[in-house]
Symmetry: C2
Subunit: 413 residues, 2 copies
């Protein structure tokens, strides 16, 4: 018995890639960690902007050291010292040397730095240099780090500490980024109660509100919880419409029952300009997922089962949020290679996502499938990541090399 025509995951990724990023805002770089820049950044200047020593030592004219060796050192006169942060007043002439620290500005006349390790002070005024340097050795040229006009950060890049650092170095204190995508989250189902309540038999607490919210935050998106909605068409429709007004995407989590699944789609279809793009995905768990748009805003029906919901979030919603955040290209996470500890069967015709724990033994990483009924949240708590079993495979075997997809928010790594 088939409920609907399911889409292969590849098609779902294509659908998600067709969505447009949210609008932009200007923020200070101190707030920019993890945000995605929305325009190419070109350097307004050279960095460091002057000739700089990259080693502690003596600034010299390189040719004065030519031929120098331990047995036949070059003898140079010390003319003084470069002070950090200042334009040196001393010039370096033929046969002269000036003491300099890493980061100091190269004095006029000098074209290289001899590392202090190769200099021996004979007296107050004289050093022996026991190694030759070539011109510009141990020196950073004014545009060695960044050239004026150079593209330093490409639009679509998610900013890491070093990316923020290069902006700081160039004096770019504010940067245009995409807004944090706002995600309206609705939990549905007659069986769902708020977590503060003791659920009577038959009912369960609203887990998805919290896992999906935390998941959004882990991707620098902003969750807005609209409430728990019973299986009631007009109340659900009101909430979806509210979500469309205030957020960039609306996610309905639930319900587990066939009836509720129908309700989500019915509500979506009752909204004008709704376009259905995905009605079921050929994966397990997570099949009953619905993706569509209302005036280009993605609306999503996520399975109510807590484990399915989070796996759909990890596999598809992470990409949706990256896309809305303006990440370009949206990248796949690097996989971790491991060997399966046991056989796991899988039905062909769908992609299976197996929860696994990573175990290191004798310097080999193993992926241990989590045993337990598949809908349970505890199986995800035990897991470190997911192993994807290809649509045309019938399973994975003990000892087989697999690629583990780490969770997006995996306790940092």
């Amino acid at each position: 018995m088939k409920f609907f025509e399911v889409a292969p995951p590849k098609k779902v990724f294509e659908v998600i890639n067709s969505f447009s990023p949210v609008s932009e805002e200007l923020i200070h770089i101190d707030d920019a960690l993890g945000r995605v820049i929305s325009e190419d950044v070109f350097s307004p200047c050279d960095l460091p902007g002057f000739f700089r020593a990259s080693m502690d030592g003596y600034a010299v004219r390189a040719k004065d050291t030519f031929g120098a060796s331990q047995s036949l050192p070059a003898i140079l006169r010390i003319k003084g010292e470069v002070k950090m942060g200042e334009i040196p007043k001393i010039k370096v002439g033929e046969g002269e040397a000036v003491k300099i620290s890493t980061g100091g500005m190269l004095p006029e006349g000098a074209d290289g730095v001899v590392m202090i390790e190769y200099c021996h002070r004979i007296d107050e005024e004289t050093i022996e240099v026991e190694r030759a340097i070539s011109p510009f050795e141990n020196v950073i040229a004014p545009d060695d780090d960044v050239k004026k006009g150079e593209l330093v950060l490409k639009k679509g890049k998610r900013l890491r500490p070093q990316d923020i650092g290069i902006l700081a170095g160039l004096g770019i204190a504010s940067v245009k980024v995409y807004r944090k995508p706002k995600v309206a989250i609705i939990s549905t189902g007659d069986e769902i109660v708020p977590i503060e309540k003791e659920p009577p038999p038959g009912k369960v607490r609203d887990i998805n509100r919290y896992t999906l919210s935390a998941f959004c935050r882990s991707l620098f998106a902003e969750p807005v919880f609209l409430g728990i909605c019973p299986d009631d068409f007009s109340r659900l429709k009101d909430l979806v419409e509210e979500g469309l007004r205030i957020a960039d995407t609306v996610w309905i989590s639930g319900g587990s029952s066939v009836g509720t699944r129908d309700l989500t789609l019915k509500v979506f279809e009752s909204i004008s300009d709704f376009r259905l793009l995905v009605h079921g995905i050929a994966i397990s768990p997570g099949k009953p997922t619905i993706i569509g748009t209302v005036k280009r805003k993605p609306v999503v029906g996520i399975p109510g089962h807590v484990a399915s919901a989070l796996i759909v979030a990890e596999v598809f919603m992470s990409r949706l949020l990256r896309r809305l955040s303006g990440e370009d290209p949206v990248q796949d996470p690097p996989k971790i290679e491991a060997r399966m500890t046991r056989n796991i069967e899988s039905a062909p015709g769908r992609e299976d996502y197996i929860r696994v724990k990573l175990i290191e033994k004798d310097k080999q990483l193993y992926a241990e499938p989590i045993i337990g009924k598949s809908g349970l949240i505890s199986t995800l708590v035990e897991a470190d990541g997911l192993v994807r079993v290809d649509m045309n495979k019938e399973g994975v075997y003990e000892g087989e090399k697999v690629e583990v997809i780490p969770f997006v928010s995996k306790g940092l790594w």
Copy 2:
């Protein structure tokens, strides 16, 4: 010429592991993503707490299906339907079946669920069941997900969305976590100017303030910037003392010069109860790193060079922050296997950290070393991670398999 006795990285990790976590606080689970729990959490109840269907289908007595097959189906009377979220009023007797959705409560008398795919409705009151189920098939028992009294989350775990989810499921709305470690950051050096200023020749903008702050945030720590300090003993001492008053650890970044390095240590040594633990690390870059404690609070001198500073942060300060955050065990990040695209020499007797870019070609991941002078921030902007070259190795070779350590804050992955 040797400036000081450098510590092998292993010893530095031991030093860091000896530090104690910061104090605790009680927070709502909605704020708990990425935070580390500070006490074991045991379940106050069974989850889900009742017998629950894990499939859409019919609740039956398993023995009524024994022997059923496609050619010889069991014939059962439909007695009604279980409503989601309710205690079923109907009982299942011999030869009876009750329609049920995933998540529904199993009615009295039933001990299993036949998937809807194997049930054929003959008329309003009758179904044919064409497959036998065993007792409790497609059923989640009251304590299948979590047993009352079970340890669900261990002290020292950094909370992911699913960990927050299990707390929600158990009705634990607030959780004890370690505070965010507060990191006082001081930039030193006569050559450092605020990023808003146009630096005259010889001076550079304060990059480290921003990279180190963002780095702290990426590990859920809270940076507090105390200011740019010139190379002046008493002003630096005042700032370190202020840092010790308000923060959990104090980091001085800078300076590049030998003089400034001496200054950092002199200031530390002038503070009572200072204990020097690490004076130089056998790594490149990052050698002139100082680690000590003042009344058990870690104080750190980080090299002023922007690239060295961030590599020291990635390799050692990440572990320091994880330790202060209460993470237990402090885990190594999973490495990514790749092959070097070219030879890189390395001096034995120290660990080298090579900046690399990951490139995928023909399904093989390659680590491409970033060419460029080593102190430059641009080399880190281009890099995806670091390759560690062991102390006793003289380099890595083209084609050699290496482990790439992804950056802590790597644009998410």
